[in-house]
Amino acid sequence: MKHRLSLQQYLILLTVMITASLGDTLLSRGMSQIGAVDLHHLLLLFRALANLNIIAGTILLVGFFASYMTALSWADLTFVMPATAFGNVMIALLSRFWLHEHLSLSRWIGILLITCAVGFIANSPARTEHSPDSDPFAGPKLTQVDPGIGL
């Protein structure tokens, strides 16, 4: 099992956090400018691609995708997932301390819960061992079932 990550790998996880939340924020801001898209006018979605917020958000999400794939090449999906969620915490803290917005008690509890989740994962191995024979995506033969560890 791989327990320790290098500085470069931590930076990739940081990039995942920042680009995911900023990209999503710009995307929703752009779509609020475009307006409602009707089921019968789905081509409007392509017109949305000309919106500056959508373009910036999409570029950030491409950066997110690249760093996310890199992280998945050396870490489990369940290890990388909380990193993407921690981006929401960063946005909330920036809005509180940079933009001086009010954060309700429920948001502070949300920040605490996500931080705890990242803490749980940070102490676990980035990649858990598994047999290639038990991986349905690894090869054509599936001869052994991995029981895993349940609750």
């Binding site: 779509m31 090449s73 999906l77 929401n88 915490v89 948001r107 819960l113 989740a117 102490n123 995506f137």
Partner: protein, 130 residues
């Protein structure tokens, strides 16, 4: 809910976005696991070699298709449904769904700590977007 979108359409759209996100992420995770550390591939074959290796993976291509569909479905969703409902609903379904899919399809060792983390993230995202 904005624009009088019916409850059935809202939750169907949320379920579609979440399902395509889960399928895309699991397939891409499987593809990356099969390829191995991208940093090592880049050190050996350079960036073009890394891109060729990634694009040559069928699992990645199917996963990327799911993510692309997810992208447009998400644009549709946020244009029809309040962000305060869409974001936590999709986020929560995706986090829990990913943990289940990672255990049963990727055979990751999702122990009690990782289940707790998935649930904490799920509730945390809901509270953050309230």
């Amino acid at each position: 809910m904005t624009h009088h979108t019916s409850t059935a359409v809202t939750w169907t759209a949320i379920a579609c976005v979440a399902l395509f996100a889960i399928a895309g992420e699991v397939l891409i995770a499987a593809a990356m696991r099969n390829l191995g550390d991208l940093d090592l591939i880049r050190a050996k074959s350079g960036l073009p070699g890394t891109i060729r290796a990634v694009l040559g993976s069928p699992l990645f291509l199917v996963g990327a298709f799911c993510m692309a569909f997810n992208y447009f479905a998400q644009l549709f969703l946020v244009s029809r449904v309040d962000l305060s409902l869409a974001l936590p609903a999709v986020g929560s379904c995706t986090y829990v769904g990913n943990a289940i899919a990672a255990k049963y399809f990727l055979h990751e060792n999702v122990d009690r700590r990782r289940w707790m983390a998935a649930l904490f993230v799920c509730v945390g995202v809901y509270l953050l977007t309230k």
